[in-house]
């Protein structure tokens, strides 16, 4: 059985104890999107402010509550995508989900293994790679991807409304 240290790397505990970008943003201009993990009741609320002129994630705040994995993953995600272009944010989402998808993609039939390498190629995940240990605890993968799926939904919705 993998040990606790595989799951709870120091950087994860750091983000859990001192989450980045906690708070709210005025809606509008920000988009507010809620994500739920129906299995455990975890809840992530994202406020995403997108600058339509430059197509960048101008600001992002996080509310809601959840376990260390969902909170740390969302906190790390916020640090990674803030100030980035929407295209870059989407690339990061794909890469992170590829990192997690060894189990999940099989369950959801989203992609096969050959896509995973392509999704990960050329994307620097940096600190986010600390979350790779989550894959050894399949039940917790949904915790790690909760914030990312919510961000994806926020980006989709903001594009829908701007069109």
């Amino acid at each position: 059985m993998p040990g606790l240290e595989d799951l709870y790397r120091e950087i994860i505990l750091d983000h859990y104890r001192s989450p980045r970008n906690r708070g709210e943003l005025p809606v509008p201009p920000a988009h507010k999107v809620e994500g739920f993990n129906p299995l455990c009741g975890d809840e992530v609320v994202l406020y995403v402010d997108i600058d339509p002129a430059s197509g960048t994630v101008r600001d992002l705040k996080i509310a809601g509550q959840g376990c260390s994995i969902s909170q740390a993953s969302t906190s790390m995600m916020s640090a990674a995508v803030k100030g980035k272009s929407i295209a870059e944010a989407r690339r990061l989402i794909r890469a992170f989900k590829a990192l997690m998808s060894i189990h999940e993609s099989k369950l959801e039939g989203e992609s096969d293994g050959s896509d995973l390498a392509a999704d990960l190629e050329g994307v620097r995940l940096g600190d986010l790679e600390a979350l790779q240990g989550v894959v050894k605890f399949p039940v917790r993968i949904k915790c790690a991807t909760l914030g990312w799926n919510t961000l994806q939904q926020a980006l989709d919705e903001s594009e829908d409304t701007s069109q």
Partner: protein
Amino acid sequence: MSPALDIERIKKDFPILRREIDGKRLVYLDSASSSQKPESVLEAIEHCYRTYYANIHRGVYTIAEEATRAFEAARARVATFINAPNARELVFVRNATEAINLVAYSWARSNLREGDVVVLSHMEHHANVVPWHMLAAERGIELRWIPLTADYRLDLDGLDALLDGASLLAVSAMSNVLGTINDIRFLADAAHAHDALILVDACQYVPHVATDVQAWDADFVAFSSHKMLGPSGIGALWARESLLDAMPPFLGGGEMINDVRLDGFTTNELPWKFEAGTPAIAEAVGFGAAVDYLERLGMDVVRDHEMRLTRYMLDALGARFPDTLTVYGPLDISMRGGAVSFLFDGIHAHDVSQVLDGDGVCVRAGHHCAKPLMRQLGVPATTRASAYVYNDEDDVDVLVESLARAERFFTG
């Protein structure tokens, strides 16, 4: 006080408790979710499949008659276990969820119209919430909710107003999150005074406390085998014969018919009218064996044991974590069952149970299929330890030590 259970001996009856997780003894404290099975239940199921398995109520050959007899004998034993007036009123279903859905589909859809009222409580399991939401969406019935007091009991001050004009009160006998035991007789009298019926979700209650549906004066009672030492895949709905007689069938198919013609059908007698298709035969036999096992222990002895152990657990948690752990549920043992939900300040329930798993301790973390209640409590999730007949003080001690490890790990 009744004699204490010989837990050391009982533990030997449950083969799974001999398992080790990473070299550590399995400490199973998740019986409110599902219970483990004793040797006698496993043997009864295997004996059925090995020696007399056949479809029931059909074949004229010897083993078909034996299977039918065993199936119906199990029904009679389960009916007696809850002091049902007769076994015709005991319908086998998949689980308590299906039992409640049966009432929602059959009784409610033939009796409730737009604007009719169903009263629920804030401590209900989703199984006793969602079927009524579905009916509200479909029929426009009104749902009313009994709130909670600060000490995790039903707040009955406004009960008469809530029941005014209501058709049904659907309420849990014991909360799967808080452990709270509700006074069903009182609630049944209140419902009946308003010409409403009462449906009791007894899924957490029947496994742990001697149950008498007649003393409750209940109308519908739902419970599951898998929480009371029996197999999964079978449960029961008990209802008054007059109600079942008047209700239309739920599922159509074989077994539930008296006659089928090209232009229609007539229904079978009770309880088979509600048991379409080949049922869970060996599971019913196992359910009967589980009831036998509990009756051999004696339900009063079981209840005493759980009260003692729950007291021990609450005291141990309070003594070890006086400032950092909150228990969600009554502290008065006479008013609660063995499900103990708690939360450390600043540590999520999932993270706690992850550490516990590393020590071989099985507990539940999450919303326990009671999200309306979790919202009332203002928490996303709790950790829940729930004891049963095979747990003892040693198990609680292992739990407490493991919790201390979790607290150290996360607050470091």
